[in-house]
Amino acid sequence: MALWACRAASYLRISSFPRAFSTVLKDLKYADTHEWVKVEGDSATIGISDHAQDHLGDVVYVELPEVGTSVSQGKNFGAVESVKATSDINAPVSGEILQVNDELSEKPGFVNGSPYDKGWIIKVKISDPNELNSLMDDEKYKKFCEEEDGTH
């Protein structure tokens, strides 16, 4: 486990800690900023991964964009608040927002408890399918997370 992670546990006096292996779903694509994409035809559902929610801590607030606005790959479109921090949510692909998960306003904990299902954040109409090629598949993303956590 990463050195900083061990020190964090000690300093914060916590027994539970980011798990060694987070859930990574097949059939999804992943960004290096820990968002996932589920492609369905020419649209995509976007959320944040189990690895991300685990490292963020309990999400208490989700700042959501508006339907109809555009998102650009790599740029932030919203934010989550956890453990006194706001963390940007970045678009893994570009497109126009078709739907926003308004349930997250009342139930931000869905991001933690169900990151790939009830915790979905936006659905977009994909503007450039080629952008998907720059994302990681589940195997690559799993390795990426392990490297970030210092586990191999």
Partner: protein, 270 residues
Amino acid sequence: MAAGVVGTRGAGRPLMRLITMSGAPILQQLHLEERLLRCTGDNWCIINDGTAPATIVMGVSGKVSELVEIQPVLQDKVPVIRRFSGGGTVIVDQGTVFVTFICSKTAVAGLQPFPRDIMSWSGQLYGKVFDSFGEFQLRENDYAFGHRKFGGNAQSITRDRWVHHTSFLWDYDMKNMDYLKNPKRAPDYRQARNHTDFLCRMKEYMPSRSVFTEGLISSLRDQFTVQPTELETVVSDDTGFKPSTKLLSLQDLEDIINTKGSHTVQEVQA
């Protein structure tokens, strides 16, 4: 998003540009922080020794009706700000010393840009500053001597950078705490204590503010090459960026009294 990095590693340490201010209004400080976070690629440390006027500062998701005693705030015309970072509500004044770190995610080797990792790093940095003055603890997300809080933290994390900022209670006016309600979300170690029993003043543990700030800069120098930077040179690089930190208008506060629970905010020109 990030502009090019100014300066390179010196003596094997990354560069950190240091801005020191005294009495700067907290709204201006927060706007500066947002701009440095979003529009530059440099590492920054901002120290602001005291602020005026006394101001209530809420986190990004703060609900005024739950956190603030609106009637006395309106009566006494206390400004209320919603800042861009997470976390709780504070009332800040001349007795508050602010310290902010704005860093690229590669600034600290091996540090992942997640809240608890950054908090742990900060706890180690400040441990070197405070250990000789009291029983310094990083308690959940607060800095404390023993079980009494003297520093509150908040963060904002982007794709490639992060802000960790702290309001330190060098001193505080107890009557200002009457403008704040006891928050619903509180750390476990608070144990339902009121402000008087929960907080402590740094001046009761350390001889002077300058001992604190000099100790901080010394601790920073273990990890960074610290370069003092004039505020005027930073302000002159204005890119037209619009910060999200907002001063709530009088109308906002009156609306909240009239329709409880609403916290829609109109932007007010600083």
